[in-house]
Symmetry: C2
Subunit: 226 residues, 2 copies
Amino acid sequence: MKIAVLGTGMVGQAQAGRLAELGHDVTVGTRDVAATMARTTPDGMGNAPYAAWAARHTDVTLATFAEAAASAELIVNATSGNVSIAVLEAAGRENLAGRILLDIANPLDSSKGFPPTLFVKDTDSLGEQIQAAFDELKVVKALNTLTAALMVNPKAIADGDHSVFVSGNDAEAKKTVIGLLESFGHTDVIDLGDITTARGSEMVLPIWLRLMGVLNTPMFNFKIVR
Amino acid sequence: MKIAVLGTGMVGQAQAGRLAELGHDVTVGTRDVAATMARTTPDGMGNAPYAAWAARHTDVTLATFAEAAASAELIVNATSGNVSIAVLEAAGRENLAGRILLDIANPLDSSKGFPPTLFVKDTDSLGEQIQAAFDELKVVKALNTLTAALMVNPKAIADGDHSVFVSGNDAEAKKTVIGLLESFGHTDVIDLGDITTARGSEMVLPIWLRLMGVLNTPMFNFKIVR
């Protein structure tokens, strides 16, 4: 599949690398290609600069948000939640029409320290805000409840015996995303319902952040035992 | 241990029955004993009236909130979140002094239909509001993330291989509550930290409610796989 990954951080790198490994035609989208490639210092989370990652992943192309989206069938939103809508605007509505958006972003507000709070919740969600802002997209919220390494390689813990969730209004788009998650190795993908159910998965973040603190690792996930 | 269970609904009945079965001296607290015993119709959730339950649990005493709290070492808050603070006021501050409060309540606002939203979240929590209102209590938030039957009998699914959480400011009180949860059969009790971490466990409710819908049963729980 032709896939655009918007965002060059830890989540974007994990998605792009794994999708390319699985044989997809992957373009990473960024605001300014030259600036992204010129950056030589780690990001705020301590991740290596994109150029260092790109040197090891020559099968992945870097382009502007608009160029990446233009040729893609499926777009991965791997941007920070607070810039997601601006990034999609920058990609251009004409380049989004009819695309599936796998939305991994969380509405984290880190402006008041750690742990971050959520800038939208409970009666609305980032997934819904994106769907409302871009009628031309088929938004599927997924993978926002676990760390990047586990999103794409669930078998790294407990042989993949844990759960992920999807929310979205378009049944066919959800089917495509579920297939993608299964190709990553996920074996328990739970369809929560329409995009309003993203309220549920996004509100998992506050306990996720505290669990990361007490477990002293991001390498954990929720399993829905039943 | 002498334990007061405040609340006569499904959660109160499950707690009181199991605690008595484990040999504790249990008193259930209600606003008006005569009115509670006179009720002959199921509650809003379809649960049998308290009197029918009490007839099968003659080892459990029913008393007013104040009487129940007065003689207890540990108090279980099994009331609806929207009345929890009023119930504790009714129990009387002099009857709460020095007690551990196992707070199971969730801040659900059902006034706008299903699924309910949360009347406090993200920057505050019901657990914190109760702790702030009643300095004399040692509040430990726990068991608010799973259905009543599983709170007290975790082995009813997957031989108990799933997780529960505790939040609270008092280390000794948390130790007592963790011991109680283990006596119920819980094998993975995760201490999230101080009472502010109740924000995390309370915000799990929105996904819990949606999972109950899609799984078509409340008999499931989260396991933190790591």
